[in-house]
Structure formats: structure tokens, C-alpha cells
């Protein structure tokens, strides 16, 4: 279980998160939606200690991570994987070396074991046979899948997705969502997905929450959000310019 309690974060005079509370159950596919700049990526970075809140708590099971030192935080991070918005693949390494990187740096596995694991993960994300290519030689969708293979190679308990489908066409958006669901069923991780792909995320999520004004304004199963009377949620779902959300 991941729990955020009254988390506040500001950058200078700009308050991004203001008293945010969120409970993410184990093995859920928890999608957080919200307008661009609402603080979704910021929220995700708090879950893994890349950002520390100004106040509030972040619990991973029974560990409160905001006050942890580097070593203790790294033990928590070993249970996580993260797919960054742009993939964050190391551009000086081939796809194979990128996926093998966490195993080489953090485990004592033999090269043969690493090779088997890397090929298994590349096969699962549909990238068998592209081992030798470099990130710059891949399309946007392939880069996301290679990054997904890298984040899965350490068998994480929790996988964070920072806008995994940004910049992709609708068919590839659905393909990535299908891939996340298939891998979630196969490997059983908890997925926390930040996205603004409405309505595509409804087929992906077991739980969905909307972030606005630094706090969660609505959460529940996808059907609850779709039926919500909250004018902020309704404007976001419909994409209308008029409403409580200040577009400009």
C-alpha cells in the first residue's frame, strides 16, 4: 500500500501540491489524471523520493520515506521501477545494454543469466531482435517499450508510469495500454500511471483519481469518475473551454 498524507510542495511562490491525500492499494492499476501542469509528474516523483515534500508524509507499506537517508531510501527504491516521459534511456548505450544496466550494476548475476533475462523482457515488450540498436535509432513507441523493458528487468513490486503514451498516435496509445495491462496481469506489480489520455485510460485503470489545484478532487473506479457531478471533473472529461478550470 502506498499512502500520501497531506503532502504539500511548492516551487518558489508556486504551490503545486497543497495537502494532497492518496491511497494506492497493492496490485492496482492506479491512474492519476489532470490538466497539464497540475503536478502529476511531481506527485509521481514524491512516491520514489526524487522530490521531498515541504510538509506531509509518503508511506510505502509501513515505511515513511520523506525522512529516510540515501541508503535506506535506496532500499525502498529497489522495489520500484519507473518509466519516464521520454524514456530516459542512456543514449550512449544500445538497447541491450540499457536493459541489462540495472542487473549489471546492482546484482551479481552472470552475463548468461543477464542475457536470458534481458531477452525475456525485450520479447515481452515486443522488441525481440533490436538489441544492438541505439535509442536514437528507435521510434517513439519503441523507445517507450525499451524503457519499459528496462524498468521491468529488476522485477519491481511497483511500477510508476510518467505519461507513458505522450507523443504517440491513438493506435500506439492503445498498444502501450494493452502492454501495461498484459504485463500487470503476468507480473503482478502495482502500477501508478500519470496520464491525460481521456478516454483511453478508462480501459487501463482499476482506480482513477483526478488531480487539480494541488489536491485530489475525485477518486474511485473509472465508472465513478465518468459519472461524477463535480464540474471540474466534467469539464476535464469533456474538454470544454468554459468551466471552473482556468484554461489560460
Amino acid at each position: 500500500m502506498i499512502r500520501l498524507v497531506n503532502v504539500c510542495k511548492s516551487f518558489g511562490s508556486q504551490q503545486v501540491l497543497s495537502g494532497l491525500n492518496l491511497d494506492i492499494p497493492d496490485r492496482a492499476v492506479y491512474v492519476v489524471v489532470g490538466v497539464s501542469g497540475a503536478g502529476k509528474s511531481c506527485l509521481l516523483k514524491h512516491l520514489i523520493g526524487l522530490m521531498r515534500p515541504d510538509s506531509g508524509q509518503v508511506w510505502i507499506d509501513d515505511i515513511e520515506i520523506t525522512s529516510l537517508g540515501r541508503r535506506a531510501l535506496n532500499r525502498v527504491r529497489n522495489r520500484f521501477g519507473m518509466l519516464f516521459q521520454g524514456g530516459a534511456l542512456f543514449d550512449s548505450m544500445s538497447v541491450y545494454d540499457n536493459v541489462a544496466f540495472p542487473l549489471r550494476e546492482k546484482t551479481r548475476k552472470s552475463e548468461a543469466e543477464i542475457r536470458d533475462k534481458v531477452h525475456e523482457r525485450l520479447f515481452q515488450v515486443g522488441l525481440a531482435g533490436v538489441d544492438a540498436k541505439f535509442p536514437s535509432e528507435l521510434s517513439g513507441g519503441m523507445r517507450k517499450r525499451a524503457a519499459l523493458a528496462r524498468s521491468l528487468v529488476s522485477d519491481p513490486e511497483v511500477l510508476l508510469f510518467d505519461e507513458p503514451t505522450t507523443g504517440l498516435d491513438p493506435i500506439r496509445v492503445n498498444a502501450i495500454h494493452r502492454l501495461i495491462l498484459d504485463l500487470h496481469q503476468l507480473l503482478g506489480f502495482t502500477a501508478v500511471v500519470v496520464s491525460h489520455e481521456i478516454p483511453a485510460v478508462f480501459s487501463l485503470a482499476t482506480h482513477i483519481a483526478m488531480l487539480h489545484g494541488g489536491a485530489i478532487v475525485e477518486s474511485g473506479p473509472p465508472s465513478a469518475l465518468q459519472a461524477s457531478d463535480n464540474p471540474i471533473v466534467r469539464q476535464f472529461m469533456s474538454g470544454q473551454l468554459e468551466g471552473p478550470i482556468d484554461v489560460y
Binding site: 516523483k45 527504491r77 519507473m82 519516464f84 516521459q85 530516459a88 542512456f90 543514449d91 550494476e105
Partner: protein, 256 residues
Amino acid sequence: MLRFVRLCGRLTLSTLREMGRMGIFLGTTLVDIFRPPLQGGQLVRRIYFIGSRSLLLIVFTGAFTGMVVALQGYIALRRFGGEEALGPMVGLSLIRELGPVLSALMITARAGSALTAELGIMRITEQIDALEVMALNPIKYLVVPIFLAACITFPLLNSVFVTVGIYGGYIVGVELLGGSSGAYFTQMSSAADSSDIWMGVYKSLSFGVIVAWVSCFKGFYAAHGAEGVSHATTQSVVMCAVLILVWDYFIGSVLV
């Protein structure tokens, strides 16, 4: 008036904050140098990048620096009938001053700027965040090998610069202008002692630390997209050049 005072205060605070961050960055890096494991592969890669790939530039600039010093020195010394002092003049100026400073400036221009840009791009494309998420220490993985490589390569490149410069001076002073071959080297070896050599080594080593420190810091904390990386790279080169010259004066005063 109040606005001016406020501006001065803001500038002072931001400068102090930046200096504090740079100090913490250097301290963290120095501690991480002694934490195992050593990233051997990364270290070799950085030595190749900073050292081997700068070699041609160092040879070229070293040769012409020696030639210019010999040419101008010969003209000046001839007025006093002191052409025999050409060897010590070329040798000492290269060993004590020009070698460490000019080789450091050349490496800054070639490798320091590239290191800042590389780390800056890794920052804005979230590759450094990815290392942190993998529970790896990005300073240990990325910055420590650069520091160690700079400490190894700067003195070595300085020695190449000085050696080539001395022979460049020989070609101009002796072969082209007709100075005495024996006097050039004999006078040089009697004028220069080990303290001069060590001064050059200390200087180039400290310049290596300065260039690695500033280049890595500026790249590591680059922000705001491509423009941020460009800004960080420019700042890095300017700051390295200024710090090299300022530090050269101070270390020269202490080791004189």
C-alpha cells in the same frame, strides 16, 4: 536607492547559495571517491575522452606556444646580448606557467564544455533521475570517474605540452634563428630544478580538479531544456577559465 540595495542583496544571496551548492557538490564527490566500487570502465572511458582525444590539440598548441616564446624571447634577449638565456627562458616559462595554464584552458575548451553538455543533456532527458530511481548514486557513477580522469590526465597532458613546447622553442631559437644548441639545453637544465617541475604538476593537478568540478556541477544542475544546457556550457567554460587564471596566481604566490 532601495531598489539598488535590494538588487545587491539578491545578487549576494544567489551567489552565496550557488557557492554553497558548489561546495556541497565538491564535498560529496570527494567523499564518494573513496566509496567502493570504483567504476573502472567509466574511468577508462573518461581518461580516453579527456586525455587521449585532447592529445593532438595539446601537441599542436604546445609546439606553437614554445615557438612563439622562443621567437619573442630571442628578439628581446638579443638586445642585451643574452641569447644564451633563451633555453632557461623558454623552459621555465613553459614548466612553471604556460604549460599548466594553457593546457588546462585547451582541455577546458575541448573536454570541459563537452562534459557539461553531456551531463546537462542527461539531466534534462531524465537520465540522471533514472540512475537515482535504480538506486544508483549518479555522483559516484558519473562525476567521480570524471574527477579521477582529470586528476590523471591534466598532469600528463601538461608534461606533453611542456616537452613539445621546449622542442618547438628549440626549432625556432636554434634551428631557425641560429642560437647555440648546447647552450639551449645546458642552460635550461641548470636553471630549472625539481621544484619548478613540481610546481607545474601541482598546478595542472589543481586545474584538473577545477575543470572537473565546475564542468560537472554546471552540467549536473542544468535546467530549462536546450537553452539551459547551452547556458550551463557557456557558464562552465567562462568560470573554468577565470578560476584557472585566479587560482594560478594564488598557487604561484604560495609555491614561489
